[in-house]
Structures are given as C-alpha cells and as structure tokens.
Symmetry: none
Subunit: 408 residues, 2 copies
C-alpha cells in the first residue's frame, strides 16, 4: 500500500456563527474550497473537546495529536520556540504585546499594530538583571513579543499583567501558588513592567512614532507564562516528517515543539494583507521532502477579532484563489490526503474564540458524501458527523495508509 502525503490547510478562526443569517463562509465565493467539500467527506470538528474554547496553540497541539490538557505549558514558551529561541528547563517564557498606555490606562493593546522600531525597543529592554534574573525581550510577528526570564528559583504559576482589555491599567502580577518561586517571579515581572514604562516613556523610537502619526509603543503587557513543553516529535510519535508553513510565531512554536520544520515565508505577515500565495508556492516546492505539510493562514482570525465580516469574507476568497486553487492545480489528488479546516471558530458576533465546532473537509480515499459547499452548516450534514480534533491525526494516518493496526 502506497502511503499518501498529508496536506493540512488550517485557516485560523475561520469557523463562525450567523451575522444577518449567514456565516462568512456562506457569504464568500470560494469554488475551490467547495470543490474539496463536493469531492471529499465533510463534517464538523471540536478542536479540543466539545464545549472548550480553544486557543490557537491548544487547538494546534490537539490537531497534531497531542492532548493539550496534558502537555500544554502556556503560550509564552511556544512563542519563544516559534522565534527560534532556546529555553532551558525551569526558565520562564511569556507572550507580550507592545502596547500604548496613556494617563495610566491602556488605550491600545497592540500599539496600533505598527511595527516601526519595535525591534529596537526589544533590544533596549533586554539584558537587564532584576533580582538576579536575566531579562530577554524578543520581537515576534506584528505587535507581539516574547519575554524570557532566565535564572534560578522561578515559577510559571503567576497571573498576567495584560488585562486583555483596554481603558484599564496594567495588572499587578500575582503569584498563583503560595510558593517562594511564584512570588519571586511575580515580583521580577512587576519590576520589569515599571522599568519598561519609565524607559519607553520618552524613548526616541516613540518620539519618532508619534511624529509619524503612529501610537507610541510605551508599555509591555505580558501573559501566558510557561515552561518548555515536553512532547515527543511527530517523527517519534507517528514516523511523520512534518513542515509548518506559517507566519505566526505561536503556530510555528507549536510545530517546532512537535519537531516540524518551520521555514520563513517571504512576504507572509499573519495579517489580512499577507502574501499567502507564497505559502502555497512554498508548500509545492517542499512537497516531495515531507510527509505532513501544514499550511496555516492567520488572516481569517484577525478579521474576526476586528469584528470585520467583509474583511473575513474577502480573506476567505483570497485563500480560495491564492492558496487552495494553486494547490489543487498542482498536486495529484491520488497521492495526497488533503484536509481543509480551521483550528477554532472566532465568531464575528463575539470577536473572540468560541467553542463552536469547525467545518472540515477531507479529500482522498474517503466516503465522498453529498455535501457541496464548504460551510459550517453544510459540513454539519456531512459523512464525518462530528469528530474530535485530538483524533484527527490518527484518522489522517489511516487515510494515508500509515496507521498501525490495533489488534489482529
């Protein structure tokens, strides 16, 4: 039996609820996605578990076959991995935002999403020692960053300084356990937050930003403290050589933790204006060298968080033309198990991740069903019924003739 390659297209936050009676997938014109639905088997999928609102990190862990309830150690460590930063056992990583504060209140959690000068700011805030702990700040994609705390006696059991809303002050970080380590780590982080405010207040970069009509990046918000996750690679677990084509640090981090290659993609930004065509081209270029190609597109989630229905529709239409069509034109469907899905739903109505299942369509040696459109509600009528994200990888190993028999 020839094995098939597994091509997994994950459109971040693409699943939705109804806006004026329709989801973005129902509104979009997307004949290539519909081709997959029509010629494949469809269903809905709970990325982590029924009723669980997944993050993109826990969802991707689950879709790669790892139980996030067991292995998830927080966003920070995955972001660090995604940036190619090595962290040792017991070192702490946190996800950060470069943000804008005014009169003691956060007025933009993403500093206008403007990247100008953020590398320089990160370098400026790196290298200091607080209570013997070395501080390292790295710029990630967009307004995102990663903070690493290196030193003895640290703990990830601390709360966030990022309140995850605007028009409120930065939160005091607290120990979540009554341990010496957690108290020390919270203390270090609070001191860092205050120092950063002082240093960035009149920083040259921020003066430049304001002159340019941009918001200053004058505060660092941290969340998701974590240590490095200890998981076997996809190669060890399934014998799969995998590659992740994504511009999103967090996703690259999850994939690196799973032992996948995570090459840079030219012009891919993780925003709705990303050069996603380049991702399809890269996928085709490396196609022969990998068993599992995971192609991730962030723009759909970004449009959802902004509550922008039209932008989400347009992004879906771009993915259809610039990614799915290119791939369908070039790959041999007899040699591939192709999956189109999402890591979680991000309904426009709530602008945040939800527990609604995501649509999924699989083309290959499958029981093709009657579903003709790739939408949440049509896929719910499909032959897969409702599946569990954590078992997806097992199903794909089976459909690609790689699964081991259990029993005799």
């Amino acid at each position: 039996m020839e094995t098939r390659k597994i091509l997994l297209i994950i459109c971040d936050g693409m699943g939705d609820r109804l806006s004026k009676g329709k989801t973005p997938l129902e509104e979009a014109e997307k004949m290539n996605m519909d081709f997959i639905a029509k010629n494949g088997i469809c269903g809905i999928m709970d990325p982590v578990r029924q009723g669980i609102r997944p993050g993109s990190d826990t969802a991707h862990l689950s879709l790669l076959g790892y139980d996030p309830f067991k292995v998830y150690t927080g966003r920070g460590a995955l972001e660090a991995l995604g940036l190619g930063i090595e962290i040792a056992e017991n070192e702490i990583a946190l996800r950060c935002n470069f943000a804008t504060i005014k009169n003691g209140k956060i007025i933009d959690r993403r500093a206008g999403r403007e990247e100008y000068g953020l590398e320089e700011i990160a370098a400026q805030l790196s290298g200091m020692k607080i209570d013997g702990v070395e501080i390292e700040l790295h710029k990630a994609s967009g307004h995102r960053g990663v903070l690493i705390l290196r030193g003895e006696g640290l703990s990830a059991k601390i709360s966030d300084s990022d309140p995850e809303k605007e028009n409120v002050p930065i939160q005091e970080v607290k120990a979540l356990m009554p341990s010496k380590e957690a108290k020390k780590t919270a203390g270090v982080l609070n001191k860092f937050t205050r120092l950063a405010l002082e240093i960035l207040k009149d920083h040259k970069i921020n003066k430049d930003r304001v002159k340019m009509g941009k918001l200053p990046a004058n505060a660092i918000l941290c969340r998701g403290a974590g240590t490095k996750p200890e998981i076997p690679s996809l190669e060890e677990k399934y014998g799969l050589k995998g590659i992740c084509i994504s511009a999103t640090t967090l996703i690259k981090g999850v994939c690196r933790a799973a032992g996948m290659d995570t090459p840079p993609v030219e012009g891919a930004t993780g925003h709705i204006d990303s050069n996603i065509k380049e991702k399809a081209k890269l996928a085709l270029k490396v196609f022969d060298r990998y068993d599992l190609i995971l192609l991730h597109i962030k723009g759909t989630d970004e449009a959802s968080h902004d509550g922008n229905f039209d932008a989400k529709v347009k992004m879906i239409e771009r993915i259809d033309k610039e990614v799915v069509e290119i791939l369908l034109n070039k790959i041999n469907l007899d040699e591939v198990t192709l999956v189109l899905t999402s890591d979680h739903s991000t309904p426009i109505s709530i602008r945040q991740h939800s527990a609604d299942p995501v649509p999924i369509a699989i083309i290959g040696d499958v029981r093709v069903d009657q579903v003709k459109k790739f939408t949440e509600r049509e896929c719910a009528k499909g032959g897969l019924n409702r599946i569990h994200g954590m078992y997806l990888m097992d199903m794909l190993l089976d459909l690609s003739n790689r699964a081991k028999l259990f029993g005799a």
Copy 2:
C-alpha cells in the same frame, strides 16, 4: 461582551422510541417547542455517555457538568439533600418506597401512589435505634421516602431490599463487600425492614386507607444506599448562581449538592397533574437574580413508566402551552441561551429509562439549522449532531459568553 442567562428546560424521560411508528414528541402538537427547534440549533445528546442508561440523578449531575462516574454516591443521599435533610460524612441515606405487601409478596411498589397518612407512618418508624444505629424515615414526594442511618461503623456498600419488581418478596439486604461495616449496615436494614412490617401490619393509618379503598402502605422498600457526594458548587466551578425549579426531591437533591437554590413550587407535584404553569411563573419571577435557571418537569417520565402513550403526549402538549409558551412570551431571546431537552429517554415500549440519546434544541447566538420540529428523529439531523451531556454546561458557558479560553 454581555453574558447571557442560561435557561435550561428539562422534561424528564421525554425522549422515546416508536409506538405504532411514532414517538410521543412526533404525535404531540407543540408549536412552542417547534419554535425553539426552528429558530435554534438542534441535535441529540447522550446524557451520561453513549450506551449508558442514566438515572435522573446521574443524568442531571452530568448535565450540570459533573462526571457521575466519579462523583455519584447513590440516590439516597441526593434524596435526603432534596428534602433539606443534612447528612454528615459516613452517615448512610437510602431512597425508599412506601409499598403494599400481601401474603409475603409486593403487590404494589408504590402503595397505589396514595399519599394519605404516609407522613404519620414515617414519623412512627423514625427515632428507633437498631444495634446502636439511629433510624430516621422521611416522606418525600408522592410514594417516595428517604431513610437515614446515623451511627458509627456504617457502609453504603450494601444491596437493595427493593427488588424493583412486583409479585416477589422483599429482598434480603446483603453486604457487597466483606467488611464489618457493610455486614453491620445490611443487618440493621434487614432488622428495620422486618420491624416496619410488624408495626405497619395493623397500623391505624392502614386500616383507614383500606376503609377509603386505598392500598395499605405496609412495607418499606429501600435502595440506592449512599453517602453525601463531595462536589464543588456551580458557583465555585463556573461562577454560576443557579436555581432549580422542580417538584422532584431527587432532582432538588442533585441541584442542592451543586449549590443551587431549590425553592418550593406551589401546586407542583411531580405528577402529570402538576401545576407546571407555576414553574414558568416562578422562573420569570426569579429570572433577574440567577445566571442559570433549571426548570424540571417530571410528568413526561411518569407517563412513560406507566406505559401511557396518550398521557405522555398530553403532558408534552401541556408543557408546550403552560411552560414553554409562557417563557417564550416573556423572556428576551437576545439576552438568554435557552435550552430545551430531556435528562434521558423513557420509551413507552419498555416503560423504563433507556440509553437512547435525547433531543436537544438551543436558541441564542447559534448556527440555526434546518430542523423545524422538536422530535428525536428531526433533532438527529441538526447542526449539533450528537453531543455529550457532560460537556453541555461547557457549551452553554461558551454560548452565554462565560467560558474561559483554554490557551491563547
């Protein structure tokens, strides 16, 4: 994001199989239930797990988010809680029936469902000490009662005296473990059963009952020995302030164990003639003060246990008019996540609980599907597909904008 209130209407044992090609839900005229199906998302739900025949207690535990395989400690303790009886750790509670015995055989397990004098009988049998163990018998709703054993060295690992069928003798209670405690408890219960038979044989109440043409309540059948369940409240678990509107002691007990308020409902009896309109009125009255309102109606299950198809249809039609219509007319559907479902199926064909999944419809910020009728077979075609009862509460937290994100 505004949170929504959660309104959960649970019609006990409403799910069914086919009688002459139709289920009671398919036969009933119920435009308000169908309105929920038509304007919501539908599915079928396994209250406890696929293939498990749930009791109303284990099902309600599961629907409230508690894993009954882990936390269920027997019916008795929940009945006691439902009656407002406090039981301490290591004390044993049992569910009882006031029953009718003749020539050594049980001829009616429910003493004709006649309540006359049962309070007096319960008082008569309370207060005695057997082998140093204090006996307390409380009348519950209808023919039901609760027996409490208070003392040292007791165990709930004992069999039932109630054979759960008629035309057979009362069962000898046996220790289910070779422990001293289980043997002692079984012994106490057997002595109590025999004492009760003697005391009730020629009791004045029973003479009165016979004169009135009623069956005598001359035996006490016990089952479901248990200790108090140790579970966190809904407030601790989910931050939900909950109220349970039910006339059924067992359901009130589950809800009290979960920290919910369980006020009395005027005229509500748990029978098919119950004043269920009062439940809807009470729900509306307390609506503003709670996050979760659970409205439970028992009559559908009672008709099922009696094998009475027409009575079940009529009860469904009453619920539709006297509960669902009243609620739909008054609540603002933009502020509520409304769920209509059942705790388990009780098919007319077998007159007992079955493992068949139950229909469920949810109205709110959901992916409204094409289902137009609230029936078992139509809901099975719905957008929820088949869901797990134990994850229902997580889904409702998500749909009511209360769920925490897992990951980032």
